[in-house]
């Protein structure tokens, strides 16, 4: 079993949802990303989504768009992001890391190369926003060969047929998009989305985490009451971006994540 599935199992054993935290790699520097990942893990993150910045993030709202722009302006590249994962592991942190991003930077690096180098760097799996199951066969083959996980998305618009397809190709967990929209958008009906995700979990045969629009500890608790996992991205990225200096940014990440983790831990009590 991979680290991702283990993280969800461990959370389930504690009767709580797993907390998944997104950070944009290289925002505002690679070394700052390392500190923020360590801070998020300390704060209680069960899984880290390590964002590979892309020039054209068409599924993201302003917060993550700006984070990607900062990262690219500071010279972040895919090899640099993999180096972040390697450094996190070298510093003894075993939090599962999911490489999260858009397809073109991976394609440009080479599907086989990126999977090989990510595995060597200590990455546990991939989530590619603009790669639906129909287009993912090649990348998935390399991921499976390397023993890593592939996390597909299910959306509120997904048909039964598409949901089944996602379940069939998933490993680690399945990411349920809470609403039709982009990252960082205002939450609508998180509770309903979480119930839906919880109902899908046995059908899919994998844990289902809910993301998009989860900002506050209250939002996280609403989702965590029902779902196997809660994903928070923009709110953590913004907390770090609003901090006045690098050490307070890492502290802001730890505090924000700790508040989310607390809410998630007590949601079912």
């Amino acid at each position: 079993m991979g680290r991702l599935a283990e993280a969800f199992d461990k959370a389930r054993a504690d009767d709580r949802a797993a907390l998944v935290i997104y950070l944009c790699g290289g925002d505002p520097s690679l070394s700052a990303t390392v500190e923020r990942i360590l801070a998020a893990a300390e704060g209680g993150a069960d899984v880290i989504e390590l964002g590979v910045p892309f020039s054209d993030p068409s599924a993201d709202g302003e917060t993550i768009q700006h984070a990607s722009e900062r990262a690219l302006a500071a010279g972040a590249t895919l090899p640099g992001i993999l180096e972040v994962a390697r450094t996190v592991r070298a510093r003894g942190c075993e939090v599962p890391i999911l490489l999260f991003g858009y397809y073109n930077p991976l394609l440009s690096y080479g599907e086989e190369n990126v999977v090989r180098d990510a595995a060597a760097a200590g990455v546990d799996g991939f989530l590619v926003v603009d790669l639906p199951p129909e287009e993912a066969e090649g990348l998935r083959r390399h991921i499976a060969n390397a023993g890593l996980d592939y996390v597909p998305l299910v959306a509120p618009t997904s048909t039964e047929e598409r949901i089944a397809k996602a379940g069939a190709i998933a490993s680690g967990f399945v990411y349920y998009v809470s609403m039709t929209g982009i990252t960082g958008a205002a939450a609508t009906g998180l509770s309903d989305a979480a119930r839906r995700a919880a109902a899908l979990s046995p059908q899919l045969g994998h844990p289902v985490a809910v993301g998009f629009g989860v900002k506050t500890p209250e939002d996280a608790a609403q989702v965590a009451t029902h779902a196997d996992g809660v994903v928070v991205g923009s709110a953590v990225v913004r907390a770090a971006a609003d901090a006045p200096d690098p050490s307070s940014a890492a502290r802001a990440v730890r505090n924000t994540v700790a508040a989310l983790a607390g809410a998630v831990a007590s949601a079912r009590r």
Partner: protein, 403 residues
């Protein structure tokens, strides 16, 4: 009127690919909407009533068929017989209207109440706003903040036509960012909204839909050419940004192997500098839902394009062109800003026609192509749009070059 769809060469309707290119690289949320759109398109295309309505509007409202014109003085100048397919005479001044009338009819048929579009120079935005005014649908257009300033008259036009224009301030604030923002809107309002893509690009089925709607250009031109000369042209030339006017005219001649097809990209300031020529000098990648040639960095980030012509100022290209390039059925060359500006003036003085800066690239390419075919040869150029919209740009660029 044609009630059946003959799929283009190399196209696989199951995967939405032209050879290795195209496909659907979008967020899961949009996948069912693309399935719905494919089904609605194939359904409409096999419905004679849809074609009656489309063809009637193309005739009575757009002004089709557009003329085929023998440009005698230009012919003498370039030493070959040059024929112009006059899409500049279509309503709203460019070929874009062929696509928007068809797509907005399709949207209405699908029960969508709101239309969104992206636009660079504003031509597709104006054409979409026009079709929405005609058919009584709500229209919102995304346009890069830079382009809103550069193309202010088209913003006013869209607003007069009842559309709402959103200035996009993200990224490079140009066409590619407008398309990102339109995708963000669509993923948010996917149930109620129809996304009217402006070029033969984007995820399947858009490249197919747009090429079928623009194929009217090639169908007409082929028939007109045969009637006028009793033969087919030696070569067909068209400018390529996203590539909709080019694929539209090429579609009429794809099966005529003896007709050379030449796509003309924007070399901008030069292929070793800032340009907009992904087929000539790019690398295969994925942007805006499709696999195709792209301008990108060694790290897979999308590079900013440059062309004096806003309509060609895009780092990607429709997937069918990538397929035609690889198979060798079409050839792609690139023409600089300077050459396009010279061609703009040349056509004005020799023929009394102000071409769009986009189309000026195809005119400029005659200098390279005509000598290859010789004096008696027949060359057909798609004059995709009129140049009135470009007057400010052309005058400013000419002043800058004098200084």
């Amino acid at each position: 009127m044609r009630a059946t769809l003959n799929l283009p060469p190399g196209f696989d309707a199951r995967t939405g690919r032209f050879g290795a290119y195209g496909g659907r690289f979008v967020a899961e949320t949009l996948m069912p909407a693309l399935d719905e759109l494919s089904e609605a398109f194939f359904n409409a295309w096999s419905d004679p009533a849809f074609h009656v309505e489309l063809d009637t509007l193309l005739r009575d409202y757009v002004g089709r068929e557009t003329p085929l014109y023998h440009a005698a003085r230009l012919s003498a100048e370039v030493d070959a017989q040059v024929w112009l397919k006059r899409e500049d005479l279509a309503h709203t001044g460019a070929h874009k209207i062929n696509n928007t009338i068809g797509q907005v009819l399709l949207a209405r048929r699908m029960g969508k109440e709101r239309i969104i579009a992206e636009t660079g120079a504003g031509q597709h935005g104006v054409a979409t706003a026009t079709a929405c005014a005609l058919l009584g649908l709500r229209c919102e257009v995304y346009m890069g903040a830079e382009d809103v300033v550069r193309q202010a008259p088209n913003v006013k036009r869209m607003e007069l036509l009842g559309a709402q224009v959103h200035a996009v301030r993200s990224g490079s604030r140009t066409l590619k960012d407008a398309m990102n923002e339109a995708l963000r809107d669509w993923v948010t309002h996917v149930q109620s909204t129809y996304y009217c893509v402006g070029s033969a690009a984007g995820p399947h089925p858009y490249p197919l839909i747009v090429r079928e709607l623009q194929a009217v250009i090639g169908r007409e031109a082929r028939g007109q050419f045969l009637r006028a000369t009793g033969r087919l042209p030696h070569a067909v030339l068209a400018c390529v940004g996203g590539g909709s006017n080019a694929i539209g005219i090429f579609a009429g001649f794809l099966n005529d192997r003896e007709v050379a097809l030449v796509g003309v990209e924007a070399a901008g300031e030069g292929l070793d500098g800032k340009h907009a020529a992904p087929l000539t000098a790019g690398r295969v990648g994925v942007l805006h839902g499709a696999k195709s040639y792209l301008l990108q960095t060694s790290d897979g980030q999308i590079a900013e394009a440059h062309s004096v012509s806003a309509g060609l100022d895009y780092p990607g290209v429709g997937p069918e062109h990538s397929y035609l390039k690889d198979t060798g059925r079409a050839e792609y060359i690139a023409v600089s800003d300077d050459a396009a500006l010279a061609a703009f003036q040349q056509l004005a003085r020799l023929e009394g026609i102000l071409p769009a800066l986009e189309s000026s690239h195809a005119i400029a390419a005659l200098q390279q192509i005509a000598p290859r075919f010789g004096t008696g040869s027949h060359l057909l150029v798609n004059l995709s749009g009129r140049g009135d919209k470009d007057l400010d740009t052309v005058l400013a660029e000419l002043d800058r070059r004098k200084a």
